[in-house]
Amino acid sequence: MVALVGNPNTGKSTLFNALTGLRQRVGNYPGVTVARKSGSCDLGNGTKVELVDLPGLYSLAATSPDEQVVTDALSGNISGERQPDAVIMVADATNLLRNLFLASQLAELGLPVALVLNQADIAKEQGLRIDTTLLSERLGGIPVVMASAWKGEGVIDVRRAIALTLERKTLLPRVVWPEKILAALEDIKAAIFRDTGRKITSAEAQRLIFDSNSALAERLQWKPEHRDPVIRQGRETVRQSGYNPLAAEPLVHYARLRKVLEGVVKEGAVRNSRSAAVDRLLLHRFFGPVLFAGIMLGFFASVFWLAKFPMEWIQSGVDWTKTIVAPPLDAYPMLQSLLADGIIAGVGAFLVFLPQILILFLFIGILEDSGYMARAAFIMDRLFSWCGLNGKSFVPLLSGFACAIPSLLSTRTIEDPKARLATAFVVPFMSCSARFPVYALMCAAFIGPHYGPGWQSVVMVGMHCVGLFFAVPTAFVLTRLVLKVKPQPFVLELPRYQMPKPRDVLWRMWQNAAEFISKAGTVIFAITIIVWALSYFPRDAAVAASINAANPTAAEEVVKAKVQAAYVEQSYMGRFGKAVQPVFDPLGFDWKITVGVLASFPAREVIVSTLGVTYSVGEGAKADSRHLLQAMQDAKWSEGPRAGSPIFSLAAVLSLMVFFALCSQCGPTIATLAQETGGWKWAAGSFVYMTTLAWVAATAVYQVVIRIS
């Protein structure tokens, strides 16, 4: 196995794609939410080797989970993973000094290394000349190759270099530490062996003295009362050698690298100042925010507009499939319903989201590859830092207004684990597009007819802000009081602007979409089938018979809808809805709305078609369906203190909308949250928190409005 290591944005993933082609597997490292990408790489000499694309990092001093995975993977400390046989260090040829700092640290691990100087095209453009032979000589003879992964140039040399490294096992020369420090490292190794019986490498011993709070210290299960004096002693030795222990590593490595690079890099006359010029405009004090708003608005509007048409096609395709598949099965009503309302509806339910999600990933990919994503974070950071998030939370939260699932996947770009978790936790509060049909139905059924289109728009906009209103304090409390993780400093590199490469962007979009289909797709599908079964069974033929008998003259359509409503009413779902209706009574929900809320777990918008069924207007109801609106307006409480008054009053309509704005009725979101936060703890917490909040807020709305109106 060979690992690709390097700073962020150097082109590791691009090189990885070039080396492995499409033969890749994406998985997760055990216990952490760091993706593990591996693939098979042809070495060009008839042999193949497994290649792993590790997360980008600047230093082995692990503070974030991503960085910890790299350090662990390279020292062979991940269960079920072998230590790599060799490391391919990918460096940005235009900033060698900083990139080689990581290489210099890697030397301590004692693994064979090959060095790839990527982005050779840019280096050439800037007129930089790099003497790779001299550099290789100074680095102990390791293979050093220039490449431009983006253009596919030099990839053959990289393959050859990997083969050579595996064969010759060339090591990077280590830094020459003062004798005293080396002795101190040995002392630490001996002390750990004495106290815990474990053997560690001197690279790991370095992490213990040089990093202010190394994650390694926790993992060694070395008792603090044994550990602390030993580490203090080690740091004291470093200090006696003339270094601040926390600064020793960069000072020593950088001093060494300056010597290594002397005469290796010849500066060209051309300076790349294009990015600086673009920044002068895009980060301008006035034009910057204006352009930012324009870009984001355009981004967001196009997600909706471009997705609208394919969504309509998919919807009509699904409806059409039902009309084709259903009639031949008239003799088998259970099978017919399973196929039409279970399987086809389930597939349709997630296919409908696919266009939005693809476009969202496409735009996120363009923003990232162009280099604008970091600028967006730079512009927005101020607005997010006070509540414990950071500028990188902006795009996931904005995407949340389309769909929570891709937004949750895009929180991976937030390095700070604390801000990442808090962002993921508040993403479901953003008013996603599946809530829109719910608001639209309520507005069309009540607000529009009673208060006119003006108020209808006000309510629609207002509902989109409700979630935001609760998300901000939630993030604040979460980061201040609940999350105990140490926050990471917000140090962000503003990379060079670059024209995104369509192939890369499309490839990443496809990878993300495939992940959506395999993860969210299965969840949506499974929940749809479960909800179908709960609303279909039991199916006593007597129910249909009695309704048919009671309506001998009514039109067939009407009777059919009534039969369907009656079946749902006595189904497990209907019975459950009636049983828990008292819980929703303070919100003004009758049992039909309650069933709608419960049945909307596959996706919130399902409540619209459920209401269609329970209000006997037939399935397939849409938010603008005249019959459904009429049935809702006519619906009255049949018993209790409110008997005779309409169910869909101003209070109930507002309460229902507020409930949907805040509730967690979305199975796929919960499943994705569990996946992205590395366990069910946060997903369950989110469900309980959001549901409680939704219940309290909707109750408050209902009880207040009913009294004043």
Binding site: Y58, S59, A61, T63, T94, N95, L96, L97, R98, F101, S212, N244, L246, A247, P250, L251, Y254, L261, V265, E267, R271, S275, A276, D279, L283, H284, R285, F286, G288, P289, A374, A377, F378, I379, D381, R382, L383, S385, G391, K486, Q488, P489, F490, V491, L492, E493, L494
Partner: protein, 87 residues
Amino acid sequence: MTPLSQLLPGQFGKLASLNPERGVDQRLMALGLLPGMVLKLVRRAPLGDPLAIEFGGQVVSLRLAEAESLIVDVAADCPIQRPRATS
């Protein structure tokens, strides 16, 4: 000697001291910002925070509050030319 946070956009300074105990400073050191290094305050974000600084041929953003304890020497013989990683 002034805190980095007080540099004007476009102004150069030589890093005089940082605090290795802090996470931000550890990050910056890993990126190559060591005492004696010349840096330039490129700009402030439109809302005033964070800052973008340039050193060793790279542009890095950091928050105002975190730039407060990085002390730079502006009187030093800072080059007019942009510093580069390899020079």
